[in-house]
C-alpha cells in the first residue's frame, strides 16, 4: 500500500487498484491511500520515469507513454473520489447529529417491511447491498414479477444504457446463464465474454456454444423444458444483438460469478 511517508516505495498496478478498491479498507484509510497516490501522481513525469526504471512494471504498462496516460486518467479520478468520500462523511455526520436525520431514517425503515408498500425502496436497498460487492450493478439475480417493473427502472438507473442492443445483450447473457445454470453446466460470464471449459467465447460465438449444450444437458438429466425456454430466449436475443451494435462497456459481473 502506498503511504505518504514512503514516496519511493515501489508502485505497482496492484497498488493503484488496491488503493482505489481495497475491499478491506476503511473509509479513513481509503482517503489516505487515494490522497497519497494523488500526491505521487502530481509529478507524473518523475513517477513515470521511476516506473520505467522497473522492468516488471514496464512489462505491465507497456511503455512510458502508457504510464503517463494511465496516470493522467488516475489523476482525473482522484479529486472526484476524494470529494465523494468527504461528502459521504459529511452526510453521515448530518444524519447522526441533526435531528432530521434520525427522523428521516425512521420513516424509511417504517416502510421497508416485505412485502413493501413501496417496492422500489425495498428493491433499491437490496440492490445497494448486492452492489457493494461488485461496485456496480450489471447483473441482478432473478427478480420476481413483484419487482419486475421497478427492476427495469433500477437497471436503467444503475448504469444500463437504455438502448435496445444493451437490453437485448442483458437478456441474452442472462438467458444463456440461466440455461447453463439449469443444466448445471459450468458457464461463467465475465463482462461480455462467456467462458466454458476454460475457453473464452465472444458474444457472437454464443449461438455456437449454445448448440453444444443440449447434449451435455441431457446427459445431466435436467429440465429440458426450462433449458429450452432459456436457450431459445438467448438465441432470439442474440439474433437482435448481432444485427445491432453492442456495447459491452456496461457489463460487469459480480465477482461471485467469476470463478
Amino acid at each position: 500500500m502506498i503511504t505518504e511517508s514512503h514516496p519511493d516505495q515501489r508502485l505497482t498496478l496492484e497498488d493503484i487498484k488496491s488503493a482505489l478498491r481495497n475491499p478491506e479498507a476503511e473509509t479513513e484509510n481509503a482517503v489516505g491511500n487515494i490522497e497519497a497516490l494523488y500526491e505521487l501522481a502530481r509529478d507524473k513525469q518523475a513517477l513515470a520515469k521511476k516506473i520505467a526504471g522497473n522492468t516488471e512494471l514496464m512489462r505491465q504498462f507497456g511503455n512510458e507513454e502508457e504510464i503517463l496516460r494511465a496516470l493522467d486518467a488516475l489523476e482525473h479520478t482522484y479529486e472526484e473520489q476524494i470529494q465523494t468520500i468527504e461528502a459521504g462523511k459529511l452526510f453521515a455526520e448530518k444524519i447522526e447529529k441533526q435531528s432530521w436525520g434520525k427522523w428521516a431514517l425512521d420513516k424509511v425503515k417504517a416502510v421497508v417491511k416485505f412485502p413493501a408498500k413501496h417496492p422500489i425502496i425495498f428493491l433499491l436497498i437490496l440492490i445497494a447491498i448486492l452492489a457493494s460487492i461488485a461496485g456496480y450493478v450489471g447483473y441482478l439475480p432473478g427478480l420476481g414479477s413483484t419487482f419486475s417493473a421497478w427492476a427495469q427502472k433500477a437497471k436503467a438507473l444503475f448504469g444500463f444504457e437504455a438502448t435496445a442492443a444493451t437490453e437485448t445483450a442483458a437478456g441474452a447473457l442472462e438467458a444463456a446463464h440461466e440455461a447453463a445454470t439449469v443444466a448445471n453446466i459450468p458457464i461463467h460470464i465475465i463482462e461480455s465474454d462467456v467462458f466454458y471449459n476454460g475457453t473464452k467465447y465472444g458474444i457472437s460465438e454464443l449461438p455456437e456454444l449454445l448448440k453444444t449444450l443440449p447434449k451435455l444437458a441431457a446427459d445431466q438429466k435436467f429440465s429440458i423444458l426450462r433449458y429450452e425456454s432459456a436457450r431459445v430466449s438467448a438465441e432470439n436475443a442474440l439474433k437482435d444483438i448481432l444485427t445491432d451494435s453492442f456495447s459491452a462497456d456496461s457489463w460487469v459481473m459480480p465477482d461471485a460469478l467469476i470463478k
Binding site: T27, W103, I125, A128, I129
Partner: protein, 151 residues
C-alpha cells in the same frame, strides 16, 4: 440544511419543479400543512460516480452480509424472493442505512420521491416523500459543501 428539528422538517418538502407539480396535483387535504421549498441544488451523477460510492459502501449488519452472500448464489426468482422476504430491513442499523442511501445517490432519491408522490393517497405517503426529500437535500448539500471547500 438548517437543523430546525423534526417539527420543521415534518412540514417541509424539498422538491424539484416536476415533483412540485406532482405534489400540487394531489388532493387539497394531502397538501394541507406542507411547505414546499424548491430543491435548487443539483449533482450530476454518473455510472462511474455511483460505482465508486458502491465500492465504498461497507454494510456491517450480519443480517445484510448474510443476505448478500446468499443472494449472489440465488439464481432463480423463487429463491431470491424467498431471501428478500426473509430479510428484516426495519431493524437495519442507521449507519448502514445512511451509507446505503448515500451510495444510491440523489437520482435514486428523486426516483423514489416521484414514485411516492405519484401514488400518494395518505398523509403518511407525503411524510415519507418529505423524509426522502430531506435525505436528498442533505446529500446535495454535502456534495456542494465539499466541492466548495476543495475548489
Amino acid at each position: 440544511m438548517r437543523d430546525c428539528g423534526t417539527v420543521c422538517l415534518m412540514n417541509t418538502l424539498y422538491l424539484t419543479p416536476s415533483e412540485e407539480k406532482m405534489f400540487s396535483s394531489r388532493s387539497a387535504d394531502l397538501q394541507q400543512s406542507w411547505t414546499v421549498t424548491p430543491e435548487v441544488l443539483t449533482y450530476a451523477d454518473t455510472p462511474e460516480r455511483r460505482a465508486f460510492r458502491f465500492q465504498m459502501l461497507r454494510v456491517q449488519d450480519p443480517q445484510l452480509i448474510q443476505f448478500r452472500e446468499k443472494a449472489l448464489q440465488a439464481m432463480s426468482d423463487t429463491t431470491f424472493i424467498e431471501l428478500a422476504s426473509s430479510i428484516d430491513l426495519t431493524r437495519i442499523d442507521n449507519r448502514d442505512l445512511t451509507q446505503i442511501v448515500f451510495a444510491l445517490g440523489p437520482d435514486a432519491m428523486g426516483m423514489i420521491i416521484t414514485g411516492i408522490l405519484q401514488s400518494a393517497t395518505m398523509k403518511d405517503d407525503i411524510e415519507l416523500a418529505a423524509a426522502f426529500s430531506a435525505l436528498r437535500h442533505g446529500m446535495l448539500e454535502s456534495f456542494a459543501d465539499v466541492s466548495l471547500a476543495r475548489s
